[in-house]
Assembly symmetry: C2
Homo-oligomer: 457 residues x 2
């Protein structure tokens, strides 16, 4: 019962679908964060649920860790095989299986990316709203309980995954949830697996909610004199029930990087980026209501983006914020963290963090899905200077601590992975023990993505 | 280690808060469905989380079942102590603890009813949207994953409970979720406990989402020539993204009972009852868009209810549908069941059920939260005729079977309790074993509402 024995058996069973080649292992040992490369012992490319089940059975028999892999965009080391074992790369399971236009749902394999799904949906007049920025796989997004810019209107993966199929730690295949819009039938296993980061089961199929493409979409960019003004405008917008589709905060540092990286010419001030979805009359009314609120809170001149090209340029800039920021310091590595607080505490959270950024020697900026109280800091570090990483981690640590003090959570959408396990006790208290109990009950051999979310011994 | 020993210890520890009086036990043995009265061995009225925890510890030590009780409106025997033990009546824990207007949330004890919360919110301009009809407690609604007429717009208890405190089977107290609007931090224990019907933990506090009271609310009643026409109108309304706040189907039998019970004068045809929430312009536009859709599908003349009085009369009638139906046959007992199907299969589900109702000797009617694909049948039985209950159960059984065949669920909002356990395997397959694993892990002595949702041995 060894990892080596598992590798031999997997090679026998799966032939070309399994590899221990250095190049592929190395690719599956990389990450977008500050973790050192951590290649797995082998990589399996399953092509069916049965493949996943068969592989997990072999790994269970041999005590070999199984770490699911989407496209490797997670930020807290979720997809790294820190305890060795195999990376389970879901990229070959990339088919859109069914589109039910009348029911506004689609059944997909976990390796489908959100952009691929939206491309496939183009002719239907429907779209899949969850948008974490990166072109992640839907399986990875579900496992991380991802969300992004649209969540304020359309919800996170929790609300947008209706049902799933998954392989358990002993290879059994289960289904959770259904295509019915709601159910009171038994324990919510679907939501237990969504966000469990591959530690309880491996997702092999998803049924996701779709939305009708709005008749009218308008975007706007709006500078504010102060952070407090921008946040007050956000709070009033949410309280009034204006159904904004996106409401993003950007600090002056982020705006500066956008100007330089993407050729914008925005005043270097706190900004809100907004998007309104609805009928022609509806989006006009939303924009007018928001405009009145913003004016009361020191907003400057709006820039409107109504054509598809203008909107694409705007949101591409927002999505490329990571790269814009990175370009501010050639050769830099980015340390990023996200927290989420009750919206009434958002101004305090942002101002405290910005004050810390001012006194830190490192360059950093803030972008945030502030309609949900969620924001990110990207901190630039020089990989040649070991003190930089330490200082970046110090800043991130203070943010996480602050979020908990303000009644929030240490991660709104990035997940726990390995990077944030140290905060689990502080955030959840005794409930962490319940999580460990569930992990042990569902994965008694601790082979599914071990050493993530919750430690079990 | 006996139930009797637990009763003695509970009487010692809790004094007047604990009773074994016949009258109170009998009250806690009743139900709104067809189950015979099943009084518990004693009733505890805890006044704090610590009371709940202390009581559960005693019950764990003595192996005594603990069955939580809200106001006893559940329909599948959820709150009945079929295996003896104590009823834990949460009615003394009925305080609204905090209202956070800026964050649109409130922290409440589980014994607060939805009407009590909305009364308390009246001055704030906010409301709590989940509305299952009955004035249930929020703890009971969360435990049942209840929803109702507004869920199509505002979601079910799953989406509307942000966080909770609960007592585990060994008396430990945990918190799950937070006041942050979203989180990717660890397993979703909040949603595991919501809908678990008191079998995994006893909810002792809830943080619920609130909504701003819309500037404009209008309601409409609209007859259709056919069930297919009404359902097609619903499907198009949802597909177009019209954000209806309520869209209810009523069959001719239900309309007939409303006319007789509540003095309405509606044509005895299939109807939709609707409500639109938004700005003045927004609700007008929604109503106009819906009107155009309805006209294409054989709608008759609309009746609008724009004043508060007219709306209250309309929705009171809808909420009293159970009693209206009951009044059609003096002395009748009502057997009611609910299913939920993908909306594309809704017409088929309704028509098949209505055909069955036509040939059955029993009087029955349908009302449904059809924007979600969810509908209810109320079947009248004469308690003096044992064949009636058998026939009612046969009808309900056929509906449940049909819902599963159509890709739906055997309960959209009533829950499993004891009444629908027989369908768990058919609906969830192997996943039922996972549910049993979780139940055993979290309640190894099987004292929390035993014999509900999933059987463990």
């Amino acid at each position: 019962m060894t990892i080596d024995a598992a590798l031999t058996r997997l090679a026998d069973r799966f032939g070309d679908k399994f590899t221990t080649s250095d190049a592929i292992r190395e690719h599956h040992g990389q990450n977008e964060s500050y973790y050192p490369d951590t290649p797995p012992d082998g990589v399996l490319f399953p092509e069916s649920t049965q493949d996943v089940s068969d592989a997990v059975k072999i790994c269970a028999e041999e005590g070999c860790p199984v770490v699911p892999w989407g496209v490797g965009t997670s930020l807290e080391g979720h997809a790294l095989a820190f305890q060795g074992g195999i990376s389970m790369d879901m990229s070959k399971m990339d088919k859109v299986l069914e589109i039910h236009a009348e029911d506004l749902d689609a059944v997909v394999q976990p390796g489908v990316t959100r952009e691929a799904l939206n491309t496939e949906l183009r002719a239907t007049g429907l779209f899949f709203p969850v948008d974490p920025g990166a072109n992640a796989t839907l399986g990875g997004m579900a496992a991380t309980r991802a969300s992004g810019t649209n969540a304020v209107r359309y919800g996170t993966m929790r609300e947008n995954v209706l049902a799933l199929e998954a392989v358990l730690a002993d290879g059994r295949i289960i289904r959770a949830g259904s295509r019915a819009r709601k159910s009171s039938s038994g324990y919510d296993l679907k939501n237990l697996i969504v966000g469990s980061e591959g530690t309880l089961a491996i997702i092999t199929e998803l049924t996701v909610r779709l939305q009708g493409t709005p008749e009218s979409i308008t975007s706007a960019v709006c500078p504010f004199e102060s952070v407090e003004g921008a946040v007050s405008a956000v709070i009033e917008t949410i309280q009034m029930g204006i159904p904004v589709a996106r409401i993003e905060f950007l600090d002056p540092g982020a705006i500066d990087s956008f100007n330089k990286y993407a050729g914008f010419d925005m005043p270097v001030k706190p900004h809100l980026f907004l998007e309104f979805h609805g009928t022609e009359a509806g989006t006009a009314e939303q924009a007018e209501l928001f405009g009145a609120i913003a004016a009361e809170h020191g907003a400057g001149e709006f820039q409107w983006a109504t054509t598809l090209e203008e909107r694409n340029r705007l949101w591409a800039a927002r999505h490329n914020g990571y790269f814009a920021m990175k370009s501010m310091q050639p050769g830099a590595k980015v340390v990023t963290t996200d927290v989420c607080v009750p919206i009434s505490r958002l101004a305090e959270a942002l101002l405290t963090t910005m004050k810390d950024m001012e006194t830190s020697p490192l360059l950093a900026s803030i972008v945030g899905h502030v309609g949900d109280g969620n924001f990110h800091v990207a901190i630039l570090t020089d990989p040649e200077k070991p003190g930089d990483l330490k200082e970046a981690k110090r800043m991130a640590h203070d943010m996480n601590k602050l979020a908990l003090e303000l009644g929030g959570t240490v991660t709104g959408e990035h997940g726990i992975g390995r990077g944030k396990m140290e905060y689990m006790e502080a955030e959840h208290g005794e409930a962490v023990q319940v999580m460990a109990t569930l992990k042990k009950a569902m994965d008694p051999l601790n082979i599914l993505n071990p050493g993530k979310i919750v430690a079990v011994n």
